[in-house]
């Protein structure tokens, strides 16, 4: 290797581009901070160890799945049902991974392995928007690194603050309501067409009907049934655009700056 290879390697991380990525995702990072706090507070109310709740934010890095795990632990569900439910919730990342594959294919291997962990809903949306107008792999990598890592830092900070203050909040503040409330805030914008409406309605009803199913598997049964009926309702329509989909999962994504969508629905 030439002595210059190290210097060339470092140029994968252009500082201005990293900052541009962090700046672009900033509204979403600000939005995820209270979500992280609410999750942290919910952790302190439930049976999950507080430190483990923080560790989960670092190594799982997926809010809805983490909240579901805390809830199922509280219900006394067996471990394989908790694991199965969390992994079903996170199955959407396979699709994001596919959407990001063209950009990643030009990154060095160690960066691919590192940045894959940070492919949250929000970082994926922000990055896909940028990559539409930027072809240079180095710029794409630096932008993704800046956006994805800074967003994760906001989630971690929110979690830690939530865990710290959670212990001090008295019960009359209805902290327990934060869990269903966050699921409402995530579920409503995920409904964007006929198929997703059917999936949500069936998932909701069957979870209630199957409440006595063994091993606390009601949610898994409800989700599987909802997906199946949603597929039936969608038969014949084209597959979803991952960008549009990720945006609908993260409500605040409507405020992604820069190359914002035409006719953004954010008021």
């Amino acid at each position: 290797m030439e002595p210059s290879s190290r210097a060339r390697d470092d140029s994968w991380l252009d500082r201005a581009t990293i900052l541009a990525g962090a700046r672009a995702i900033l509204p979403l990072s600000i939005g995820v901070f209270p979500f992280g706090m609410a999750y942290g507070v919910v952790v302190t109310e439930g049976p999950m160890n507080d430190s483990l709740g923080i560790v989960a934010s670092v190594i799982v890095l997926a809010g809805a799945a983490q909240l579901a795990m805390v809830d199922l632990l509280g219900q006394g569900a067996p471990w394989f049902v908790i694991v199965g439910t969390a992994l079903v919730i996170n199955a959407r990342f396979v699709m994001y991974s596919g959407a990001m594959a063209p950009s990643f294919s030009e990154f060095p291997r160690r960066w691919r392995l590192f940045l894959a962990h940070f492919l949250t809903d929000q970082a994926t949306v922000t990055s896909l928007l940028y990559d539409r107008g930027e072809r240079r792999p180095r710029r794409r990598l630096a932008y993704l690194a800046g956006a994805a890592v800074s967003f994760a830092l906001a989630w971690w900070a929110g979690t830690i603050v939530g865990v710290v203050i959670g212990a001090a909040i008295p019960p009359e503040f209805q902290v327990g309501f934060a869990a269903p409330l966050m699921f409402v805030a995530l579920a409503v914008p995920s409904v964007r067409d006929r198929g997703s409406l059917v999936a949500a309605a069936v998932g909701f009803s069957v979870t209630l009907i199957a409440r006595d199913a063994p091993l606390n598997s009601g949610l898994l049964i409800g989700a599987a049934t909802g997906i199946a009926f949603g597929l039936l309702a969608k038969a014949g329509s084209p597959p979803p655009d991952p960008l549009e989909l990720a945006e609908s999962i993260e409500p605040a994504a409507g405020v992604v700056p820069d190359q914002a969508h035409q006719g953004s629905r954010h008021g």
């Binding site: 594959a101 990643f104 949500a200 597929l231 609908s248």
Partner: protein
């Protein structure tokens, strides 16, 4: 505690495997359209199920009617109209506190 650590570890590994699946391990595999549609329906189906479970159930049995129900309905309307996570949290928590003050004791949460 040991079991909790194991659960978090397996979920973390599985989630990483899914995130890395297409971008490194299976870079040349194309997701079949039908599977892609199913993946797109995971979020609405699971999240609606989670609303049902956390709002209406407690250890598999019905929770009684309380301030949570109308507060969740208000939050859902705000989420629909604004699509803002922040406003939804504010509206939901604000409503549940307000309703607790307004509702007669047996109905408050």
């Amino acid at each position: 505690m040991g079991e909790q650590v194991m659960i978090v570890a397996i979920v973390a590994l599985g989630t990483y495997a899914m995130r890395a699946s297409m971008v490194s391990i299976l870079a040349h595999v194309v997701i079949p359209p039908r599977l892609e549609q199913a993946l797109g329906l995971v979020a609405p189906a699971v999240l609606a199920g989670l609303v049902a479970q956390t709002l209406f159930l407690d250890h598999g049995t019905w929770r009684g009617f309380d301030a949570w129900y109308p507060a969740a309905a208000i939050a859902a309307v705000v989420a629909w109209r604004t699509r803002s996570f922040g406003w939804t949290l504010v509206a939901g928590m604000g409503s549940v506190w307000l309703l607790e003050v307004l509702l007669p004791p047996p109905l408050a949460g």
